[in-house]
Symmetry: C2
Subunit: 467 residues, 2 copies
């Protein structure tokens, strides 16, 4: 056995193994501002499954940690490198291998960008629903590894519900194929689901078979503005209780309305407490149902209500929602200039009927610690993102930001919620996952990790702390 | 430590532990005629989770196998006892603990019968979609443990898609709570999915939180009769390719049409090669779409086509389909009288476009071995049930039945299918699961089993043979 690098170069073409210091630091972390990250020993860019397997075998022989990465758009540090680790960047495995309209499935490599897959299947009259905010840059492999969500989940569910089968490189470099290409199949333990959301701690995903749906019709959208969070919450409850299943039911709070308006002026009501966006993707048939939803929104106390006249207008309204994250980043840099502004993007899902309690609780926590927190998210499925604005150069601001984060997590669990609705655990939520699971659940996580990765080389320290 | 029975009686009320020989033999097996079964040492009927946990702790101390049972309506021997094992019958845990219409969830104990839950949530305007043929008798715990399917899966998916959270007694008697009550949640490894379909080999499910849906509207149904299997298959392909998502798309072959007509005469065309049943559960809105589907069915070559005039007529057509299993049982007893008639109910799912190849292949296998095989099932999702009629008292008939079964399994896998679409593995499919998984998948199954049940006491020998 030579050095790790020598052994890698013995089994991989030379251009797959990168050690340029700038490139190493460029692969240190994802978009979670506050999670620790180290400098990898090397970044490996395999071009196929065999090269991933060869890389893992060398790493296993050297007992060196392997950190898989996609586009590094994650929000929990799950893709963060540690000092001396081997980063395996899957972006070179970026081919759509197959789209089968008759079976309504696609087979893709993990480095395929979400939006690319969406566009490719749309040409066949099909849809791949999962739509994380990062869809123009995040990869399907990353989406699967974090079980990413998005705005459509209220109707269509999260990424995991679309994963039929996987090819996975295991901790010893063996290649597993699991799952199926058929619509139905219940053969054996659900290995596929075990790797979904495991953030690369149980294996490295090298191929994904996804289920597709018939393309939805055009969306029809309405916007309702509320003077209080309670009235907005009441509207959400009424719409859901009446049995409607919108394709989008989003909430933006005042902080977000102001941040978006400051970033891209579009005439949003910056005095409102909250804005709801509701869509139906059933084309012309949506009209009558959208009017019923509008009536629920009015009855709950909307101060203003606007129904988009056509699909283009509906798309413009949705675009405002999609600006939430960049607008909050802009707000952070305006509030704390010179690169000091940072965000802790939280992600908490509560029972739908507890949304108002969550949001008003967040307001109270924010005021008590004098930390700016905006709330945005998927009100229709109870999944909200409190976004905490901090000064990265001020330890007092960071400490208060972390306190606020912890108090929000505690509140979410107390409301019967979960510490992550769609972003995953990574490093950011590891302690809160343990809190949510309890000792028996933690023990079971460790047992599964040990069963699949006895030497602990696969993305160690993510999801669950070593035993 | 006393005897197993003494130790059980020390921790459980006396009426929970049953050793009457008739009762023991009555709990020996499920409905899989050909799977081996033994006589349990005792049947335990716990009334709550603590009693299940106490039972497992005693069994673990004595290293005695524990076989969980529900209504024993399974079709793979997954609930079959072995000699000297402890059967744990969950039918006493039969309470619906909660129905929450605002959150669209229900929390139930495993012994609740599927149809009871359906009726209870229907009163709230909600639906629990999974509808195995056994719904009037099978339990939710059994449905979850086998990941049971049904006729609605083509639109609504199998049981696993409705399971949000579980309480599980682990192999050491510890109690795990996993999953969530929220619509969304991706916290940690998907423990919930690991227990779904694991047939009690990883833990004993004692509570289930299920997702509900708004009640569908009334169903509208059509029946189309075909002179050849190829034309029926063409109709299925056209309907799916056109983007329709029916709430039912069932196929019955000539053997089934004749068996049903002999069992309950209802004027079915017993000369037809196949009959399709297609439903839309969108009430009056279904009309136009059902006409489009009818057009696809006609174009494919239907010799007769009938659209149900109203919901009652639609229900009558569906009732014919629901008679398939009892009718085939009746056919078996008529063909081989004096209790000799038996069925091997197979369950294979192939890509939808390969259905015709599967059915014509089954016909060829049936003819070559001179064994009667009827085919029925869920054509819309490629999941069919070849039903093999055997003489249980004739070893040559049994041997030929098993040969036919194996050839059908081999054909299904060769067509890109899976060895089970909805019935599960149990004992019947164990070898074929291993064939489908390959050595790496088998190794992973054993690693998971060992991680969760190191002593191998939970339903040993089911799903996967011990290593």
């Amino acid at each position: 056995m030579g050095s790790l690098l020598d052994d890698l170069l013995a089994v991989l073409p030379a251009d797959r193994v990168l050690t340029d210091p700038d490139l190493l630091s460029g692969h240190a972390r994802d978009e979670a501002d506050l999670c620790p990250a180290g400098t990898p020993l090397a970044v490996v860019r395999p071009q196929d499954t065999a090269e991933v397997a060869a890389t893992v075998r060398v790493a296993a022989a050297h007992e060196v940690p392997v950190v898989p990465q996609g586009a590094r758009t994650g929000l929990t540090g799950a893709a963060n490198a540690t000092d001396g680790a081997l980063v395996v960047s899957l972006t070179g495995l970026n081919r759509i291998l197959e789209i089968d309209p008759a079976e309504r499935i696609a087979v893709v490599q993990p480095g395929v960008v979400n939006a690319e897959l969406r566009r490719a299947v749309a040409k066949e009259g099909l849809a791949y629903p999962p739509d994380p905010g990062s869809w123009e840059s995040s990869t399907i492999g990353g989406n699967v590894s974090t079980d990413a969500g998005g705005m459509c989940c209220v109707k269509y569910g999260v990424t995991g519900e679309y994963v039929l089968g996987l090819e996975v490189v295991l901790a010893d470099g063996e290649i597993l194929r699991c799952g199926r290409r058929t619509v139905k199949g219940v053969a054996g333990y659900d290995l596929t689901r075990l790797f979904v959301g495991a953030e690369g701690t149980l294996g490295i995903i090298t191929e994904i078979t996804v289920r597709l749906r018939p393309a939805p019709r055009e969306a029809r959208t309405l916007v309702a503005v509320y003077p209080t969070m309670a009235t907005a919450g009441q509207a959400v409850s009424s719409v859901i209780a009446a049995g409607h299943v919108p394709s989008m039911l989003e909430l933006l709070d005042r902080t977000h309305l102001r941040a978006i308006e400051a970033y891209r002026p579009m005439g949003l009501d910056t005095e409102a407490a909250a804005m709801l966006l509701v869509a139906l993707d059933t084309g012309d048939e949506a009209g009558a149902e959208l009017e019923q939803i509008a009536e629920h929104c009015r009855t709950a106390g909307a101060s203003e209500l606007y129904v988009a006249g056509d699909a283009a207008e509906a798309e413009a309204l949705t675009a405002a929602r999609r600006l939430a994250h960049p607008a909050m980043e802009h707000l952070a840099t305006q509030t704390f200039p010179d690169g000091r502004g940072g965000l802790i993007v939280d992600d908490v899902a509560v029972p739908r009927s507890r949304i108002v309690e969550l949001v008003t609780g967040v307001e109270e926590i924010s005021a008590r610690h004098d930390v700016l927190v905006g709330v945005v998210g998927h009100a229709g499925d109870g999944n909200l993102h409190p976004v905490i604005v901090v000064d990265l150069a001020d330890s007092s601001s960071l400490d208060r930001g972390r306190l606020v984060f912890d108090e929000i997590m505690r509140l979410g669990l107390a409301l019967g919620g979960t510490c992550t609705g769609e972003h995953g655990v990574g490093l950011l939520k590891r302690d809160w996952l343990a809190e949510e699971l309890g000792p028996v659940g933690v023990r079971l996580h460790r047992a599964l990790k040990t069963a699949l990765d006895p030497a602990g080389i696969l993305n160690p320290g993510k999801v669950i702390a070593p035993g």
